[in-house]
Symmetry: C2
DNA sequence: GTCTATATGCCGATAGAC
DNA sequence: GTCTATCGGCATATAGAC
């Protein structure tokens, strides 16, 4: 693999685990097997590299969601499949995690890909929900934008509760509770 | 105010905004108006001070929740009041934020107060939900532990979505969507 | 493109005076 | 209790050779 590619992927992993403040250029270089000079030749610094890594993670997250939300089946089935897919729960969400970082939230260049990813996700979920309303799966009183936000929030909050408990249980409970409400 | 008290409160604020990795003893001392020697006289180091600060935040968060969940009104009213209370949404949750910090999650001493706070919250919500089931407010099919986890997750995830968007809107949508599901 | 050398400053803490 | 001095190490680059 090329050096640039290794740098981006290593940064993705480190940002996921340690966030922006907790990720040093030195650690990135070590993980990528690249030297100091090499990293600074390809990127102007930590911020630019982080931007590339976050954008990449956003693209990957969207693709993974679309695979399930755009697949076969009823709207309810696709949402349930998305909610129930295998996840490395205790590692948390690679994108959501970054919202804890004040440096990411404060920098428009770094926050943009985070924002775009969640805005897309909520919009895509809302589309599927609207579909489900049309064919009578969901009550006509349901507001797609609201329910979409609720679904995305349960996932993000589920990660938080799971990491607090050092157990996937609260995550699973939260998802099951949501499905009970939706399917009732 | 005493020095110890100022140190703890300053640490609470800094942990809220910048997390454990992003909070340095030097910054704590500056915020508390205390010198190096003073801080290390009262606390063995950053970890011990952080533990005291997290415990304090946990106590405060529980008290604030209990005030609404244990107040007057039906179960549904109390939950809606808790969900709808004023929050500094874009600052996120002081406790939930810490789950993004690998050093907090990995250290039993630091994770314990985080875990206890959310475990208490889910338990308390489940009690109120069970009450609501008994007097017919909620369907008999509702599982209190699941719904409690869902409610806590929507709040925590709502903060994440709001900070990503740099807007409280997704938080409000997520809460409204949850209330629509519960009240339906 | 990648390497090594160098730089300023913060990190987290310890030591010992006052 | 609080202060100042000191410490080894890392953070985040920049400079210039190869």
């Amino acid at each position: 693999m090329e050096t640039v590619e290794r740098l981006i992927r290593s940064t993705q992993e480190l940002l996921w685990e340690r966030g922006y403040v907790g990720t040093s250029p030195k650690a990135i270089q070590a993980a990528a097997g690249a030297g100091q000079g090499s990293m600074y030749h390809h990127f102007s610094g930590k911020a630019e590299l982080a931007k590339a890594a976050i954008e990449r993670s956003g693209v990957e997250m969207r693709a993974a969601a679309e695979e399930l939300l755009g697949g076969a089946g009823t709207a309810g089935e696709r949402i349930a499949r998305y909610l129930g897919r295998e996840r490395d729960v205790l590692r948390g969400c690679r994108i959501g995690r970054l919202t804890a970082d004040p440096e990411v939230v404060a920098d428009p260049e770094l926050r943009a890909p985070v924002d775009e990813t969640f805005t897309w996700l909520r919009g895509r979920l809302a589309e599927v929900i609207a579909e489900g309303k049309q064919n009578g799966e969901f009550a006509a009183t349901i507001d797609p934008d609201r329910l979409a936000a609720t679904i995305a929030a349960v996932l993000q909050g589920g990660y938080v509760l799971a990491r607090a408990a050092d157990s996937t249980e609260p995550f699973d409970l939260a998802i099951q509770g949501l499905l009970e409400l939706i399917e009732a």
